[in-house]
Symmetry: C2
Subunit: 448 residues, 2 copies
């Protein structure tokens, strides 16, 4: 199928305007609900971060009425600030969902915009699911059309494509016609947020929050007649040509509405870089086979070269450094039986039992080992050997997180912040989200 390049924005707008809840395949509905649950967990988990406090101060000084709740907290802020704050919060741990091909984290810029509108202006949970699904689909497809050049030159693709996702999902929530959607896309095209130089600072998670806010504002004003280019994506001086040396419009319009890129959204099981994930899976496998800090003599993990390159820190001194230490991660997995935010605490990386295992762990860079694969071997004090093999890391496309793993991740993030009751309620509501008439119950469960 070849695309008429001059019709990309128009075709996308048509798809968005005319897709209904009933058009969504069941697996798209299911994955949308899983994405939203995962997203809510990471948003609540980081809700008390210092950077959130700063944006709440901003909102208290110049913000509007308390229209929407900040998840995991008591404050209410205006709908735009809520999109900004909840969107930023959800990316602080870098533990949100990932479209593996483009490394876009689609929920962070899109979910908070949709939920802001639902709480402020109303809308059923079916509206939310539909708006989120078409917004994510557009965002990921626009990402595919300019990846990898756009990312390689230094754009933080989550922000730059997320603003389209937010504008489009918000337009869908607002019931806009095709022309208003084209205007919203044009406004989004002119407002890319995010460059990779900001990685490692508060500005990185600010990117998707800002994209959520800007997209929501774009949709609102486009609906009131604020006009823009109707070829914002594909025009000679539009988004794709200005921000990328590669542009393949068929990535956007090909099989649109028939195949869903959203189904390739993946969830991290562990709050650290994906290259360590197969190693953590493998170490947890050893533990299930009886390996403990008390009986282990040495551990060798056979890994892809990137594991050494990106996560080879031998003696991490802080929790953050622990995220870049495959050795610490193996130590935590063997000692604790899980690897969550708790196991990346500043005190935790200094636990004696963890350090003991860490220092007995070696990695062997192994030719032919894929990035999502790992073999691990433990020698025990009794002279025996235990092995475990991970063909595909959990959270990969081939081995997605189960609902139970998602729940466990959610609980691990949310219970320390809000307690068990809130965590249980959010999971229960999300599991049957399509039956909620509005977001009243969800907001009650997700705020304090």
């Amino acid at each position: 199928m070849t695309a008429d390049q001059s019709q990309v924005t128009a075709e996308l707008a048509r798809f968005v305007a005319h897709t209904t809840y009933d058009d969504l395949p069941p697996e798209v509905v299911r994955e949308t609900k899983r994405s939203l649950l995962n997203w809510m967990g990471v948003a609540i988990g980081a809700a008390w971060h210092e950077s959130v406090d700063i944006l709440l101060k901003l909102s208290s000084e110049v913000g509007g009425p308390g229209q929407v709740g900040v998840y995991g907290r008591r404050e209410r802020v205006d709908a735009l600030d809520a999109a900004l704050i909840n969107g930023m919060s959800s990316h602080i741990f870098d533990f949100d969902d990932t479209h593996l091909r483009t490394v876009i984290h689609p929920s962070a810029p899109i979910a908070p915009a949709v939920l802001s509108l639902a709480e402020w202006r109303g809308g059923s949970a079916k509206d939310i699911i539909t708006a989120f699904a078409v917004g994510v689909e557009a965002c990921l497809r626009i990402g595919n059309s300019v990846y990898p050049d756009h990312y390689n030159v230094g754009w933080h693709i989550t922000g730059t494509t997320g603003v389209f996702g937010s504008a489009i999902a918000s337009s869908k929530m607002l019931g806009h016609d095709e022309q208003s959607i084209r205007y919203a896309i044009g406004l989004a095209a002119a407002q890319p947020t995010g460059i990779r130089e900001m990685f490692g600072t508060m500005t990185k998670p600010f990117h998707p929050g800002k994209a959520a806010m800007d997209g929501l504002r774009s949709a609102l004003i486009a609906g009131w007649g604020f006009n823009s280019s109707e070829q914002g994506i594909e025009a000679k001086r539009g988004f794709a040509n200005v921000l990328s040396t590669k542009f393949d419009p068929t990535e956007i319009t090909g099989t649109l509405g028939q195949e869903w890129e959203l189904l390739k959204n993946a969830y991290k099981p562990y709050p650290c870089g994906v290259v360590i994930h197969p190693v953590i899976d493998a170490a947890l496998g050893l533990r299930e086979k009886g390996v403990t800090p008390g009986n282990v003599e040495s551990i060798t993990a056979y890994v892809h070269p990137l594991v050494q390159e990106l996560t080879g820190k031998r003696t991490p001194q802080t929790g953050l450094e622990g995220k870049f230490s495959v050795f610490h991660c193996v130590g935590a997995a063997i000692f604790e039986g899980k690897v969550g935010e708790h196991e990346f605490g500043d005190d935790y990386v200094k636990l004696e039992q963890v350090i003991q295992v860490r220092d007995k762990t070696e990695i062997a860079v192994t030719e032919g080992m894929r990035e999502d694969e790992c073999r691990i071997e433990a020698k025990l004090t009794d002279g025996s050997t235990v092995e475990h093999y991970v063909e595909y890391a959990s959270g990969s496309i081939e081995n997605p997180l189960t609902d139970e793993q998602l729940d466990a991740k959610f609980n691990d993030l949310v219970i320390p912040v809000m307690g068990e009751d809130h965590a249980r309620d959010v999971i229960r509501i999300m599991r049957n989200l399509e039956n909620e008439r509005d977001v009243t119950n969800l907001v009650k469960a997700a705020t304090m």
Copy 2:
């Protein structure tokens, strides 16, 4: 002087933090006041545009407290929305100031941020002048460092460099230290707004308004500890390298504080493309020499090729088309003796006496004629000939607008909106701005 490329952001922040009002050369103070007067005129002139109404609706629905006035109107909005709305308004007519080398319109993204802070948080007029001057200086120098590649690829450079100007000017108003300024610059680097595809739509003037708002927000949160890269401009994946194939850091740091790029800011005398300006000057010269619609037989203007290419519309049907018709402009100049917004009204382009002159006008593309030069010749009904020669168009660097011309432009824009009293008061206050203790008088004069 060679720049240490890795210190560009740091050097700029040092300059901003330590420059005081007393460091500003008198001509910089004078040009700042002229820029602010010109800016206020174009902001008030377009204050009742439909796009302003849409943003006011947005502010009434999600905006914060009425902290700052919308110039030319009665509404008061929060400080961020005021930066957005007043910034957009000032670029609607495309009649604001221009840094001719880069085509940056520096006041639109910077003045509204500074004035918002002055009204909301306080600050003397000397603070305003200092903040505006360092903000514009930084904006123009950053523009120079990436021009022309950055513009040629399709960025609307007024927005993309304006957000730096706003962040820096706002930081200066807030009295930030060097580190906070570096953070604000980093935040600005991650939030470029504006692509050229949007020209001709409401989204074009939205760009500098958005830049003003984003820069102001960046400065506020940076001051509260929101961190960012401290090399936002020059890092490998920072602003310059991600958004431009050319980057010359010496354009930013060379002669900083000794030479002022701000002095190269120019003001358009007529609300249309600059290539027509020397022709209008020339036609007005004919009129002063006695040429009228009643006595003219034919007019020939000898012009640069761009005049034909960009403004060759023979029979404009709307006011907007009139802006792209050199023939209409000559007709209006001869008939009316001035060319302002009034002469680009939809009815005005259909005035019989204007059309008569228009249809008797020819242009002759002339080898060697510069863009800002024009010779014109009129044959009269009595057989005689009148000539006029314009060496440099008014509003060029060589022939800048006089204070009287600026006042006339201001009055032409403001009196139809607010009446003579307001116009006179703003001019009087701006002329001696440095003596104002705060912005109370200015705001009173500039709002209704």
